[in-house]
Symmetry: C2
Subunit: 185 residues, 2 copies
């Protein structure tokens, strides 16, 4: 049974990117890559990925900065869906589907492609919120970096009820796994 999980890093005050869309506040941090709620264990269970247009653009701009498109290497092996209403740059050979369909329709396709593995909503916060609005988000997993940013891209621009399932420290990070609590009825 696939779980749909929003796994992300955030500042203590709930921003997943700073106003300049840089991640230096995050990427400089110390973590144990075998520690609690680590990315390696997480990604091993993932069978399909979804991300929004801004997140995709960030990968293109930052991961591939200064490289010719022929050298771009998509960092994920599993089928990926990018929600966009425009035609962004294509990563050669990457298993990416661009879509403007609603999240419920795409979720069904992702579930089929994942073959029992989990679905990862990479971000941003509004896309994760759309999955939650549709009752299709099961978990929110956060790596909380030790700072406040004061402004930036919000973790989740919605009121969503959660239940704390797991909490642990990974060096500089407080790490928490929450179940999304669906409204009764």
């Amino acid at each position: 049974m696939s779980l749909t999980r929003y796994y992300t890093a955030t500042s203590l005050d709930g921003f997943i990117a700073d106003p300049d869309a840089t991640l230096d506040w995050l990427l400089t941090r110390d973590q144990d890559h075998g520690g609690v709620l680590n990315y390696g264990d997480f990604i091993a269970g993932v069978g399909a990925i979804a991300m929004g247009a801004t997140t995709y653009r960030w990968v293109i701009d930052h991961e591939f900065s200064g490289k010719d498109p022929s050298e771009w290497t998509w960092p994920y092996d599993v089928p990926s869906w990018v929600f966009t209403r425009t035609a962004p740059p294509v990563v050669p050979g990457a298993p990416i589907t661009f879509t403007a369909d609603d999240v419920a329709a795409v979720h069904a396709r992702m579930t089929q492609a994942a073959g029992g593995r989990d679905l990862w909503v990479v971000g941003g916060g509004d896309l994760a919120g759309q999955f939650a609005d549709a009752g299709l988000l099961d978990e929110v997993i956060v790596y909380i970096a030790p700072l406040t940013l004061g402004a930036g891209a919000p973790l989740m621009p919605r009121r969503i009820e959660l239940r704390l399932e797991e909490l642990g420290r990974n060096r500089e990070f407080a790490c928490a796994r929450y179940a999304v609590v669906r409204p009764a009825g």
Copy 2:
């Protein structure tokens, strides 16, 4: 040696009050009043309190709702400073000083009044930020409630570097104590 501590509850996405300034999302939660980073142990070490005008107004409106001012009971025994540029309602007999001075001057008076005990910055986020800007904030202690609010009053409208000192679970809450990291030099 007094520590200046910002001790507060927050949503996972960094809001200390929702857009309607209600706290039902917080006050309904289960906690162990003898658990990690609990309020009782915390307040026992506090010798002076600071809060902003909005926080003070919230106490007046919500704690004293429907009561005649003669029945208002200020919930804190220690000297309290309220930062305000207007003349808010007075709680009879309460050890409150209204001030429009800057935080550094008030911090010196608070430290003297506290007699070696800690200073508590109750909130809001901007007042805590002003203490941090002045290099006078030592710790941020958060009770993270299991929800996102999506909007409201920000935990800390600043970029502030922190160091995770303590992390634990108190029933529904993830609780963390951070030291404020002052810029080198």
